[in-house]
């Protein structure tokens, strides 16, 4: 494997992640797989890339007081539980020889759906701006079931007084995803925090990054401990480029409008989802493949 290419790849993905305020895992894992790195190793090793870029993100958001640590910890609690489940599930799927299918299917479903929604919403916003229309009145009411559940907690920074169960469940779901897809899960967390939990928009990205650090750190340790699929050399090469790229990406992000960035991101997400899902429908070049589970 040639290392300058990996550092460069880390830098490019880091730039994208800084630009859009995401972890970038959904982009990194497919590229690594495309480069011929076994999916299990790619997914597990790039999680630490997500840890690094999210850490530098959280540090800068903390200085802007844009992280709600309380709700972040509740979500991270669910996330750690989800990661435990996800790593065990991944291990079981690997033994069945079905890990590739699970990875491809999750990418197709989640990235496809989220990408389509983002693209639709942001293109609509851009069109309205071009035509000079007013934004339609937004339904700001939170779904009622958020209030019907027990274990209510106050989250002053997010402006919430809701049950702890929805953020915990959301964290858990993203934890499972994080283990299977090797992503931080920001692309699921951010919309869910905005549109389902209705958190204050200002704290959403910082809080999601905080939750992502804890969950991906947990995933990395579990993947290393249970599946031995973490390659520290690979992940160091990626994150060396990644942290530098992320800083430059963050500087560039101020030059674009938010909805334009979301439209481009939605397009990238959708394309990655389709690309990963395509593998399910295209005849593979070799019908046979080694399955992990024994020393190769």
């Amino acid at each position: 494997m040639n290392w300058p290419l990996l550092v460069l790849l880390g830098a490019v993905v880091g730039f994208v992640s800084g630009l859009f305020g995401i972890g970038g895992g959904f982009l990194m894992a497919p590229i690594l797989i495309f480069m011929g790195i076994p999916p299990a190793v790619a997914v597990a090793s790039q999680a630490s890339h997500v840890v690094a870029s999210s850490t530098s993100g959280v540090i800068s958001y903390t200085s802007q007081k844009a992280v709600d640590y309380k709700i972040g910890l509740v979500m991270a609690g669910g996330g750690v539980l989800g990661a435990l489940l996800g790593v065990e599930l991944f291990r079981y799927l690997r033994l069945l020889g079905q890990a590739d299918l699970a990875v491809a299917l999750s990418y197709l479903l989640f990235l496809g759906a989220i990408g389509t929604l983002m693209l639709y919403e942001s293109l609509g916003q851009i069109l309205r701006r071009v035509r000079g229309e007013m934004a339609p009145h937004k339904e700001r009411r939170r779904p009622l079931w958020l209030y019907g559940l027990p274990l209510k907690m106050r989250f002053p920074r997010s402006g919430l007084y809701i049950s702890a169960i929805p953020p915990f469940a959301l964290g858990m779901f993203v934890g499972v995803m994080s283990a299977i897809m090797g992503v931080g899960g920001g692309f699921i967390l951010v919309p869910a925090m905005l549109y389902v939990l209705r958190m204050k928009a200002g704290v959403v990205v910082g809080t999601s990054l905080f939750q992502i650090i804890i969950v991906t750190a947990m995933t990395t340790i579990l993947q290393a401990g249970r599946n031995q699929t973490v390659d520290v050399v690979l992940s160091m090469l990626l994150l060396l480029g990644g942290v530098v790229g992320a800083q430059y990406g963050a500087r560039w992000s101020g030059r674009f409008r938010a909805e334009e960035l979301r439209a481009v991101l939605g397009l990238i997400v959708l394309m990655v989802g389709i690309q990963m899902g395509l593998e399910l429908f295209v005849r593979p070049s070799d019908l046979f493949a080694f399955a992990p589970g024994v020393a190769q």
Partner: protein, 269 residues
């Protein structure tokens, strides 16, 4: 003082061993490795095994040399993608009990020119004649006059699976056939070089040098060698497998530290 003295000469000098006894009338092959311990370097580059040897061929019948190097056997799990409802899915993995982790033949001519199919199959020489133990629930029968045909629950698929193991290993440069890999550097003196990729398994390897005349094996020399990995990557690999939890924790701490360091460096600028 006494220890410093040289040992006394033997009373009767022993006769030099006549290692080349019989070489005047017997066809024989002798081979050796330049290094019986091969260290695969950490720099992703692999290593090479150099085998040289001599052919004692008193008559003028042309002789062919075939060098076979095989690595330690290990189980292999294989899946086959099948199409169902328009979607390509993996089959249940099939376990092959033992396939060599490395297998390479080098010869003076293509193997099929040196000996016939039956002979090579009997000796297990050549990638096509590798003994890859069949999956469980298998038995061997004689079919179409060929002995040891493996029948398993895979049925006819077995051959496809077997070919796939070989094809995938060939793609990883773990199995190879080099029909010009043995070169005579001088009359009766040959040399073969076998490339070992960085992914080659570690452990005990067996090397055989066969001498063929008229399609018959006339002599063989057996050697063993040890392949081990050295360098920092080996240390990391060992660490990752011996203490996986601390390894994982270390990876995370490294990552978090790098992220923190980057944000410090860039804030100052």
């Amino acid at each position: 003082m006494i220890a410093a003295l040289p040992p006394p000469p033997p009373a009767v000098p022993a006769p030099a061993p006549e290692r080349s006894v019989g070489t005047t009338d017997q066809v024989r092959i002798a081979a050796a490795l330049t290094d019986a311990r091969v260290r695969v370097d950490s720099s992703f580059q692999g290593a090479s095994i150099v085998l040289y040897g001599a052919v004692f061929n008193p008559n003028d019948t042309p002789a062919d040399v075939v060098v076979v190097v095989r690595g330690p056997d290990g189980p292999v799990r294989l899946v086959k993608k099948t199409r169902s409802n328009g979607v390509w899915l993996n089959s249940r993995p099939v376990l092959f009990e033992g396939a060599p982790g490395f297998y390479m033949t080098a010869s003076t001519r293509p193997l099929s020119d040196i000996a016939d199919f039956g002979q090579l199959r009997r000796l297990g020489v050549g990638v096509d004649h590798l003994r890859i133990n069949a999956p469980e629930e298998s038995r061997t029968v004689t079919r179409y006059g060929v002995r040891d045909v493996v029948v398993s629950r895979l049925g006819e698929d077995y051959l496809d699976f077997r070919r796939a193991v070989i094809r995938l290993r060939e793609a990883a440069a773990l199995y190879d056939t080099d029909p010009a890999g043995v070169q005579f550097v001088d009359r009766g003196l040959f040399r073969a070089e076998v490339e070992l990729p960085a992914v080659a398994p570690t452990g005990r390897y067996f090397a055989e040098a066969w001498l063929f005349q008229n399609g018959e094996p006339v002599s063989v020399s057996n050697l063993t060698l040890t392949v081990e990995k050295v360098g920092i990557e080996r240390d990391i690999f060992e660490f990752a497998h011996r203490r996986p939890w601390s390894y994982g924790l270390l990876c995370v701490l490294l990552a978090a530290f790098t992220g923190w360091a980057a944000s410090r460096v860039f804030r100052r600028n």
